[in-house]
């Protein structure tokens, strides 16, 4: 079909950002099996992110975090009708090739997994499947867009349930963009160097005041009010990772073989609790500017993941520092 599709670079980017457009105003949820994916879809998620362990589990268990097993991702793709995303390691273009061949709808080149390259990110123009990448400031966002990312999300600090750095990164990106809009033409060249980003993209942002691709938020969103906060700060949609399915323990104590003993030290929230949280966050994301609905959604949830305060994390444990 490629001839009649007009398979050029600009059409390719429009199709990639086009799917991100369809996800705006919605919630993309991390899921680790088909059962969680069903819960997410039932709760109104616009997409799911298939991964082996949610960030909170990766933090607790340690080890090298890699792309999820294609068998598991396939099961999730077979289970839900909404788009399915999956993560590859930073710079691991072979994992990305595997995910593209599998047919996932979006790839997240993610700092949550252990990086595979300390210098280079994946050349995302080389793929037909769209990519989302994390960013902490405008320079990082534009470097990823230059490499072909079709969606940007704040990095925040994944797996903590602490929204503080999602807020920090969103505010930083918005502030960086606002600064560009009041700069003179000649200042933009110097600012491009300062941002370590291509001049053409810097100039584009200076003109429009926004990123050339959709701008979503991730990294520590755990409650309906967190989701509404990020939307009010400018996020066009939110990713919720550990916040939906995690309980108040960081690892299972008496659970095995996928049988979870919710009454005795389980890391996961009970499915009914997770579903109620997921529904409430979906509703809060749409009605982000309506405090009455936010109150209702906040009442609908019982508790949130225990979480980790980011301020107490040692530098070496900060996932957001991964990415160059």
């Amino acid at each position: 079909m490629s001839e009649k599709n007009g398979n050029n670079a600009s059409n390719s980017l429009r199709l990639k950002t086009g799917l991100a457009e369809m996800l705006k105003g919605g919630v993309i949820m991390d899921v680790t099996d088909a059962r969680q994916a069903e819960i997410a879809e039932r709760a109104g998620a616009t997409a799911v992110m298939a991964l082996e362990r949610v960030p909170a589990q990766i933090r607790a268990e340690g080890g090298v975090a890699r792309m999820a097993s294609p068998r598991m991702i396939q099961k999730i793709m077979d289970t839900v009708n909404i788009p399915v995303m999956a993560k590859c390691r930073i710079g691991h273009f072979a994992e990305a090739q595997v995910l593209e061949a599998l047919g996932v709808d979006y790839i997240d080149e993610s700092e949550v997994l252990t990086p595979a390259d300390e210098l280079h990110h994946v050349d995302k123009h080389a793929f037909k499947v769209p990519f989302v990448c994390g960013a902490r400031d405008l320079g990082e966002a534009l470097r990823r867009i230059a490499e072909g990312a079709a969606m940007i999300r704040t990095k925040g600090e994944a797996g903590t349930g602490d929204v503080v750095h999602a807020v920090k990164h969103m505010r930083q990106i918005v502030k960086d963009m606002r600064q560009l809009t009041v700069m003179g033409e000649e200042e933009l060249y110097a600012q491009a160097k300062e941002l370590r980003a291509p001049y053409e993209l810097v100039r584009m942002v200076a003109k429009t005041g926004k990123l050339p691709v959709p701008n979503f938020s991730a990294g520590g969103i755990a409650t309906p009010a967190d989701a509404a906060l990020m939307r009010q700060l400018g996020a066009e949609a939110v990713f919720v990772g550990s916040g939906i399915f995690m309980g108040d323990k960081s690892r299972c104590e008496e659970c095995s073989n996928g049988e979870h003993r919710y009454d005795r030290g389980c890391a996961l929230a009970q499915p009914e609790v997770a579903e109620a949280r997921a529904k409430a966050i979906v509703r809060a994301t749409t009605h982000f500017d309506d405090p009455k609905v936010l109150l209702e959604t906040s009442r609908e949830v019982s508790g949130a993941m225990k979480g980790l305060a980011v301020a107490g994390l040692p530098d070496a444990d900060m996932l957001q520092k991964r990415g160059w």
Partner: protein, 194 residues
């Protein structure tokens, strides 16, 4: 005759509602983002955007929104793209789900496959001004249409732009193209119905 600016709502539960609002404003309408059923009372027409039809349905199934919107599209002009076309169809397959049943057609969700099968190409239509660029993203397929449905464009032998009375549906995304003809056509339909 002075042309009036009709007020057209864009269902803004989630999806590419901003892109639609922009095109409607460029086509001479006043666009309003709609998130609550009571907002329907002040509108001359409505657009249901692309996005995830299953997510939109979750919201419509609360607070009598679905009933109110079903009644609205029965009496006022409506236009749906992709997920919006699914919601306006009489029958939905893959899987079956509730809808507003405003157009006598059957729509199959995700009929072209996954994102990797999304595509852009030009198709001849009944709108004047030459072929239309069409952006298909995880698009549904119209698998059957009733006798009262006017097919405005076909891709191969599949209908991709259809109209029945005051309701129009596209399986592609005119809101993601620079060409404004489809939105202008809908604004014209709304004006005619004022």
């Amino acid at each position: 005759m002075v042309e009036t600016s009709p007020t057209i709502g864009v269902l803004a539960i989630q999806g590419d509602y901003d892109a639609h609002a922009r095109r409607l404003e460029e086509s001479g309408a006043r666009a309003v983002l709609v998130r609550k059923p009571e907002q329907l009372d002040s509108l001359d027409g409505i657009v249901i955007p692309g996005g995830e039809s299953s997510t939109m349905l979750k919201f419509l199934e609360r607070d009598g929104f679905l009933e109110k919107l079903t009644e609205f599209v029965r009496v006022k002009p409506s236009f749906g793209t992709c997920a919006g076309a699914i919601l306006l169809a009489k029958n939905v397959e893959n899987p079956a789900q509730k809808s507003l049943a405003a157009i006598d057609m059957t729509v199959k969700r995700n009929a072209y496959g996954r994102q990797i099968d999304s595509h852009i190409h030009e198709v001849t239509s009944k709108l004047s001004g030459g072929p239309l660029e069409m952006v298909f993203i995880r698009a549904p397929k119209i698998s059957a249409t009733g006798a009262g449905v006017d097919v405005l464009a076909e891709d191969g032998d599949e209908p991709v732009l259809v109209r029945q009375g005051k309701t129009m549906a596209a399986t592609f995304h005119p809101e993601l193209s620079e060409d404004k003809r489809v939105h202008e056509e809908f604004v014209r339909m709304v004006r005619e119905h004022l």
